[in-house]
């Protein structure tokens, strides 16, 4: 865990300086189109943006050490609250997408491996290539056109929070979840197939066959569990990427998640929000990678930490 500290420090410094060299600053965005240079300078002073960079960096570092990510320079709302408001939609979308992706990809990937070279394998792999190469926004708009605008089964956009009911929440997430899941399902199906193919050629599978075990038992009990390490790794990376904000899906379906928050904050040059978000995103990556590493113990007894 201690080895992650330099990662955080590097990320924090990198983001801090990258934002400062990007053209534009929050004072200009706050002041509006008609503001004079003098008005912009007044706001810049008010926000402390005219102070030396080192002073600004030290002030931010001091806040961080106190566990304070600061406040949005626009809304004056604490960054932690802004992130908190957006965490649920992104987490729920990620969960729905990952569950759907696993539900689609594991059976299909397994089928393709077991029937390697056959018609089923070719169909599954064609699906995987199509799913992986279709842009999410294209799939999203097709889903909206068919299931929301034409059939009227689902809303075209928006997110219903969990506090208004689990079913209502799921209803708002089905279309974005499917749009996103297809991408990950394609990747996961290919990884599942490749891992299983490798395992299915191992000696112990031949032994299991010789012992007269059923093909289903061999595949599920012996092959899948031994092929799990790369599959779990891909699921973990996918989960981390989703929690890091899925900007396109959140934009097309108007889901007020972390991806949208990040995009808005970058466009406005809302420094505290961008800095806070990047730190949160890197924490998510570190934690999920750690969990993935730890999970290897469950699937492979040879792994020791």
């Amino acid at each position: 865990m201690l080895s992650t500290v330099p990662v955080f420090i590097f990320v924090a410094l990198f983001v801090f300086f990258l934002l400062r060299i990007t053209p534009g600053d929050p004072a200009i965005m706050i002041a509006g189109d008609q503001a004079s240079s003098a008005q912009i300078e007044t706001i810049r002073e008010q926000l402390g943006l005219n102070r030396p960079l080192l002073d600004q960096l030290l002030a931010w570092a001091g806040q961080l050490l106190r566990g304070d990510l600061g406040r949005s320079v626009f809304s004056d709302i604490p960054v932690t609250r802004l992130i908190g408001q957006r965490l649920e939609p992104t987490a729920m979308l990620a969960l729905v997408a990952i569950v759907l992706a696993i539900a689609i990809a594991l059976p299909l990937g397994t089928l393709a491996a077991v029937r390697a070279g056959g018609v089923a394998d070719r169909i599954v792999m064609a699906f995987a290539v199509l799913g992986f190469s279709s842009p999410v926004f294209v799939i999203a708009f097709l889903l909206v056109y068919l299931f929301a605008l034409t059939l009227g089964w689902f809303p075209t956009q928006g997110y219903v929070p969990l506090s208004q009911g689990v079913l209502a929440c799921l209803h708002s997430l089905i279309l974005p979840g499917v749009a996103l899941a297809l991408l990950y399902a394609s990747l996961l199906a290919r990884v599942t197939r490749a891992s299983l193919l490798e395992v299915l050629s191992e000696d112990y599978i031949r032994t299991a066959n010789a012992k007269g075990l059923t093909p289903a038992r061999i595949t599920i009990r012996h092959a899948l569990s031994n092929a799990a390490v790369p599959i779990v790794t891909v699921i973990g990376i996918g989960m981390a990427a989703l929690l890091g904000g899925v900007v396109v899906t959140e934009t097309v379906f108007n889901i007020p998640g972390l991806g949208r928050l990040a995009t808005d904050a970058i466009q406005r040059r809302d420094y505290p929000v961008v800095q806070g978000l990047i730190l949160v995103f890197s924490s998510v990556y570190v934690v999920i990678n750690l969990l993935v590493d730890l999970s290897y113990v469950l699937f492979d007894p040879r792994v020791r930490y």
């Binding site: 053209p23 534009g24 600053d25 200009i28 965005m29 706050i30 002041a31 509006g32 189109d33 008609q34 503001a35 004079s36 240079s37 003098a38 008005q39 912009i40 007044t42 706001i43 002073e45 008010q46 949005s72 626009f74 809304s75 004056d76 709302i77 802004l82 408001q85 957006r86 708009f141 909206v144 299931f147 929301a148 605008l149 059939l151 009227g152 089964w153 689902f154 809303p155 075209t156 956009q157 928006g158 208004q164 009911g165 079913l167 209502a168 799921l170 209803h171 708002s172 089905i174 934009t251 097309v252 108007n254 007020p256 949208r260 928050l261 995009t263 808005d264 466009q267 406005r268 040059r269």
Partner: protein, 516 residues
């Protein structure tokens, strides 16, 4: 069978998704996002619109451009025009239940008077602004300044909204934090999620005027319990939501999307606000510090061609050969040159243009992007060396503040679209101001225009002011602080079961309700 199963699942989830509440909610997709809540520290139009939701004003502009009393019950002025007395309507209350008093008005106007351009002029001409009693405000001028009512009824950024004294006393270098007003709606700050949603509820304390609504004046009756501004960044998503009835109003439907709505009987489109397309020059550096070259561009720009780059439907644009909006009482086409490419080329020659690059900044997400491309090509066609630079609006906003030479990150021209109320008359006009460093980006500098603008404020009668506005235009045709590239109308998409929609120049949501 599969389709039936899908329908059943979707229906079950949909039933679960229906909110139990019976209150009437108006769902609006505004054109932007609310970034901050202090309407005095920014000219941002979304903050202005937020201000109209929660605050009220002493005076307001009606749909004919006349200034009408709003919070004021009566007012008088002495024959010399130096002393103005305003009496507030009885029983005006802020959202926290406190009475609106003359002290609140004085504090609000003093803060606005330090921050707004027109407010600063009023302050400069003011000898005293005081509360006589709880409902009476007295304004004593140093001289007969003629724009008192126009200033107090200023319709666009920055609007002299009235807020509680304790809030209005916030130093001008700090933003207010408490959105308490006395307007028809109250902001639900706890439900504000920047970038996602802004919620307003009907203010039970609000006492509307008895007159019917007209422009920004008249009775501001809230006909819905709740207004939700749903921030939808993607325009196609917003269009889908409008068609599906998930939102009631889509502000600023892009013109190229209007045909997609034509087949939907439940959705209508209407124009709701106007803007002037402005091609602004940087006069601080070459080559547009040369008046002849600016005159060349004035002769070059063909408004008909420019406006049709925005929309090919005359209902949504107007050729307006003037620096003022066509519906302004000060509109004049005096001296306006017809588009003439040959004359433009001649003026380029007379300017002695040396072929130095013209950095034309283009915010590609702006509705004026296509017009900027047209301008770039038209300039090239008359022999100008145009360096068309595509960027986002925040970058353009930073670049345009620079007075550096083009080679060092400076700029020569950009396009913007100020709202109609900011382009009505010489004094409040954003782009005609020619007071050098204090002027809008581009910093035009002309003593004659500034003298005329100062004179305008001292002229008591409309005819005299019209003559002044005409003189300003004639002079501006020589100095060319900018080139108007046509008048465009912003389009509102709406569900047809709505009633009471207003086209006030500013998107406002009092009077709007649902048909029975």
């Amino acid at each position: 069978m599969k389709r039936s199963l899908g329908m059943i699942v979707a229906a079950a989830l949909a039933v679960a998704a229906v909110p139990a509440s019976a209150q009437t909610t108006l769902k609006v997709r505004p054109f932007g996002d609310l970034k901050t809540i202090d309407p005095m520290t920014t000219s941002d139009y979304m903050v202005r619109n937020h201000g109209y939701m929660i605050y009220d004003t002493l005076f307001a502009q009606d749909d004919k451009g006349a200034i009408k009393p709003q919070m004021v019950q009566s007012f008088t002025t002495t024959p010399d025009g130096l002393t103005w007395t305003f009496v507030l309507r009885d029983n005006l209350k802020f959202h926290d239940g406190a009475a609106v008093t003359a002290a609140d008005v004085v504090a609000s106007l003093k803060r606005w008077g330090q921050l707004d351009g027109l407010g600063q002029q009023l302050t400069a001409h003011t000898a005293a602004l005081e509360a006589v009693d709880a409902r009476t405000v007295k304004l004593t001028l140093k001289d007969r300044w003629g724009l008192v009512l126009e200033a107090l009824g200023k319709p666009s950024s920055m609007v002299p909204f009235i807020m509680p004294e304790r809030i209005a006393k916030t130093p001008t270098n700090e933003a207010i934090k408490d959105p308490i007003g006395s307007g028809p709606f109250m902001m639900k700050r706890d439900e504000w999620s920047p970038g996602s949603k802004v919620v307003y509820v009907k203010a039970p304390t609000y006492l509307p005027r008895q007159e019917p609504p007209s422009g920004l004046a008249g009775g501001k009756v809230a006909n819905v319990d709740r207004v939700e501004w749903t921030i939808i960044p993607d325009q196609q998503t917003a269009l889908n939501a409008l068609q599906a009835g998930e939102i009631d109003i889509f502000e600023e439907v892009p013109p190229d999307m209007m045909p997609l709505l034509k087949g939907n009987a439940k959705v209508g489109v209407t124009r709701f606000a106007a803007l002037q397309a402005v091609l602004r020059f940087n006069q601080a550096i070459p080559p547009f510090n040369n008046a002849k070259l600016r005159q060349a561009i004035l002769h070059l720009v063909d408004q008909e061609q420019m406006v049709r780059a925005y929309v090919d439907d005359p209902a949504f644009y107007t050729n307006c050969p003037s620096f003022y909006m066509c519906d302004s009482p000060y509109f004049t086409d005096a001296g306006w040159p017809k588009p003439d490419v040959a004359r433009a080329k001649q003026l380029v020659k007379e300017s002695g243009y040396d072929g130095s690059p013209i950095a034309l900044l283009d915010a590609t997400e702006s509705i004026l992007h296509s017009q900027t491309l047209l301008v770039a090509q038209a300039m090239r066609d008359i022999g100008l060396k145009v360096d068309h630079q595509a960027m986002d609006w925040p970058t353009l906003s930073t670049r345009r503040a620079s007075k550096n030479p083009v080679a060092q990150g400076g700029w020569s021209a950009f396009m913007s679209g100020p709202a109609a109320p900011d382009m009505y008359e010489p004094v409040g006009h954003l782009a005609l101001r020619s007071n050098c460093e204090k002027a809008w980006f581009g910093w035009p500098c002309d003593e004659a225009i500034e003298k005329l603008r100062a004179d305008f404020t001292m002229i008591p009668d409309l005819e005299g002011r019209k003559a002044n506005a005409r003189a300003v235009q004639l002079r501006a045709i020589e100095t060319v602080p900018y080139v108007p590239a046509g008048q465009l109308y912003l389009v509102r998409g709406y569900r047809k079961d709505l009633t009471g929609l207003l086209s006030a120049g500013v998107p406002v949501y009092w009077s709007v309700g649902r048909g029975k």
